[in-house]
């Protein structure tokens, strides 16, 4: 098991290098000259060709692509992502708090999504075809079909404006979490609950369930066996849900003015703030690689076939 963890973790290193190269390379393909962006942001009235050449040399941007990439890569390893073109602050000082805010929102939502999906999935599978199952599926289908921005607007209108119970935006107290978490949870639970349900149902048709029943085991014990086998698939999908939510809070964050990654990235993209965009893409890609590795390791720990290397 330990050797598997080491092997799996080492495998993700080349992946990270490739990702960093792609991130830097793709940004480099942009037709916009970053130097012009910087000069504009600094409020230089007339941008002459000499000025551009001078600034380029000062920032080291006249050097070949590979050297610039290596410099950037080495400083990224030291958590130095450069300075924002627009504000001049270090990218780290902007990105770190935004990342933490989004992470808080993501983790709370993920916990709610996982708990709800497993709970509803199990109930629905055990009551397959009955009213409970049908109504859970109907309601979840209805809610998941609503786009998050529409759902968020409805929630704000009802809970904040009509009832005046919850704040409309910002991140001031624990109350501010409620609406965004509900919106994110609703938009994902419908998908993940279906997966738990169908995984439970396919396991319920397995022979081991029949043999358990034929041996006179109580239903509770049999359900635990089904759950254990169903969750093996679900856990890796849940692990991947966390980076997916991290990267897709843009809409919700913008509606609720959440000071997180989504808000920051949209702002940076609009102002062509390349260092922040690069760092944002890199951090998200790393999150994907990290959670993918973790989910593989958890899966191996739960699945004896993988664990023993068969």
């Amino acid at each position: 098991m330990v050797s598997y963890i080491i092997k799996r973790s080492l495998l993700s290193i080349p992946l990270l290098v490739i990702i960093s190269f792609l991130t830097f390379g793709l940004n480099n393909l942009s037709p916009l000259d970053p130097v012009e962006v910087i000069l504009h942001a600094q409020g230089v009235p007339t941008i002459t060709d000499e000025l551009i050449v001078e600034t380029k040399a000062a920032l080291g941007m006249d050097r070949p692509f590979l050297i610039r990439y290596l410099n950037w890569f080495v400083s990224c390893l030291q958590l130095d992502f450069g300075n924002s073109y627009v504000t001049g602050k270090t990218v780290w000082s902007l990105l770190a708090p935004a990342f933490l805010n989004t992470l808080k929102l993501t983790l709370i939502s993920a916990a709610a999504i996982i708990a709800l999906s497993i709970g509803l999935g199990v109930i629905s599978a055990l009551r397959e075809g009955k009213m409970t199952d049908k109504s859970i599926r109907g309601v979840s289908f209805f809610l998941t079909s609503m786009p998050p921005y529409w759902l968020a607007a409805l929630m704000v209108w009802y809970f904040s404006v009509q009832l005046d119970l919850l704040p409309t935006s910002g991140m001031d107290s624990y109350e501010s979490y409620i609406l965004p978490v509900i919106v994110i949870t609703i938009s994902y639970t419908g998908i993940y609950f279906r997966m738990v349900r169908s995984s439970m149902l396919s396991n319920m048709n397995e022979d081991y369930v029949l043999y358990g029943r034929a041996s006179g085991l109580p239903e509770k014990k049999i359900t635990m066996h089904i759950l254990r086998n169903s969750l093996q698939v679900a856990i890796s999908v849940f692990c991947m849900a966390i980076p997916i939510i991290l990267g897709s809070t843009v809409v919700v964050e913008n509606i609720f003015a959440w000071p997180g990654l989504g808000t920051l990235s949209v702002k940076s993209i609009l102002s062509r703030d390349f260092p922040i965009i690069q760092a944002y893409v890199l951090v998200l890609a790393m999150a994907f690689v990290l959670f993918n590795t973790v989910s593989d390791i958890i899966n191996a720990a739960m699945n004896p076939k993988l664990r023993k290397g068969h």
């Binding site: 397959e128 075809g129 048709n205 397995e206 022979d207 081991y208 029949l210 043999y211 358990g212 029943r213 034929a214 041996s215 006179g216 085991l217 109580p218 014990k221 066996h225 254990r228 086998n229 093996q232 739960m302 699945n303 004896p304 076939k305 023993k308 068969h310």
Partner: protein
């Protein structure tokens, strides 16, 4: 005296309304072995699962199933559950899939024995060890700590037989227990089934489409075709002077295959051994 009496058993699919078994009646004599033979899809397995009341939710059944004078169809689910395993024990076709793939096989053995007898861990291990040794499983403690995928189909089949030995049920229902095995393991497992009957004197329902094995183990034979019982009788009569055309067809095609096999192998037949 009949230990199990099935009367007018009808099985149908409630969703499509299709009748799978229109109405079977048969009985199993105390201490004897009844074989149910027939092609796949003839309703053999459904009949057995109906006795255990373990068919899938969409499959409905009616009729009476008298076990030791008690009508199983009228029992509450809780009482039926207590009888499963302890009095009516089932052995499945595919050992590889009969155990939870993410637990060692010992988990199923312990859970089953603990819920029927309330034994502790040591007692269960000791009893299972003895039973597993008697079905020729070497190193039973190590086997109990292995996952199903680490064991062979024949070994898992013998683990099920060993569990049956400890449970000491009044009737064993074996649903094609040799179909998923290669010829050598088949031979070993059939030997264990014969010994199982000798040791416990239990009654047995043995589903198979392998007439060679049926001939070895069964006292009485039921022949099923498209859900109906087309022929019945003692093993000798069925194999020598079958009344129904379909039975004669089954026996003669088996004979033809066997002769062909004998010719190929130069006079040796494994199944007949």
């Amino acid at each position: 005296m009949a230990i199990l009496e099935v009367a007018n058993l009808k099985i149908w699919d409630s969703q499509t309304g299709k009748v799978i078994v229109p109405g079977s009646s048969f009985h199993v004599k105390q201490g004897s072995c009844l074989a149910i033979v027939g092609e796949s899809g003839s309703g053999k397995s459904l009949t057995c699962r109906a006795i255990m009341r373990l068919n899938k939710t969409g499959i409905r059944q009616s009729g009476d199933i008298l076990f030791n004078g008690v009508n199983l169809t009228e029992l509450p689910e809780k009482d039926m559950r207590k009888r499963r395993g302890k009095q009516l024990c089932m052995i499945l076709q595919n050992g590889m899939r009969a155990f939870d793939p993410s637990c060692v096989v010992g988990v199923h053995l312990r859970e089953t024995l603990a819920c029927h007898f309330g034994w502790g861990r040591e007692e269960i291990t000791a009893k299972m060890k003895r039973a597993m040794e008697s079905v020729m499983l070497k190193d039973p403690i190590a086997v109990m700590n292995m996952y199903p995928h680490q064991l062979s189909g024949g070994m898992l089949q013998r683990i099920m037989i060993a569990l049956t030995l400890v449970l000491e049920p009044a009737i064993v229902i074996a649903d094609e227990p040799t179909t998923a095995l290669d010829t050598i393991s088949q031979f070993e497992v059939v030997e264990q089934f014969i010994q199982l009957r000798e040791k416990m004197g239990c009654s047995m329902i043995f589903i198979s489409h392998d007439l060679g094995i049926v001939r070895k183990i069964a006292d009485d034979v039921l022949v099923m075709k498209d859900g109906e019982i087309v022929d019945r009788g003692t093993s000798q009569i069925i194999f020598s002077e079958a009344a129904h055309e379909y039975t004669r067809y089954l026996v003669s095609s088996k004979q033809a295959l066997n002769d062909h096999f004998k010719r190929l192998m130069g006079g040796v037949s494994l199944v007949e051994r």
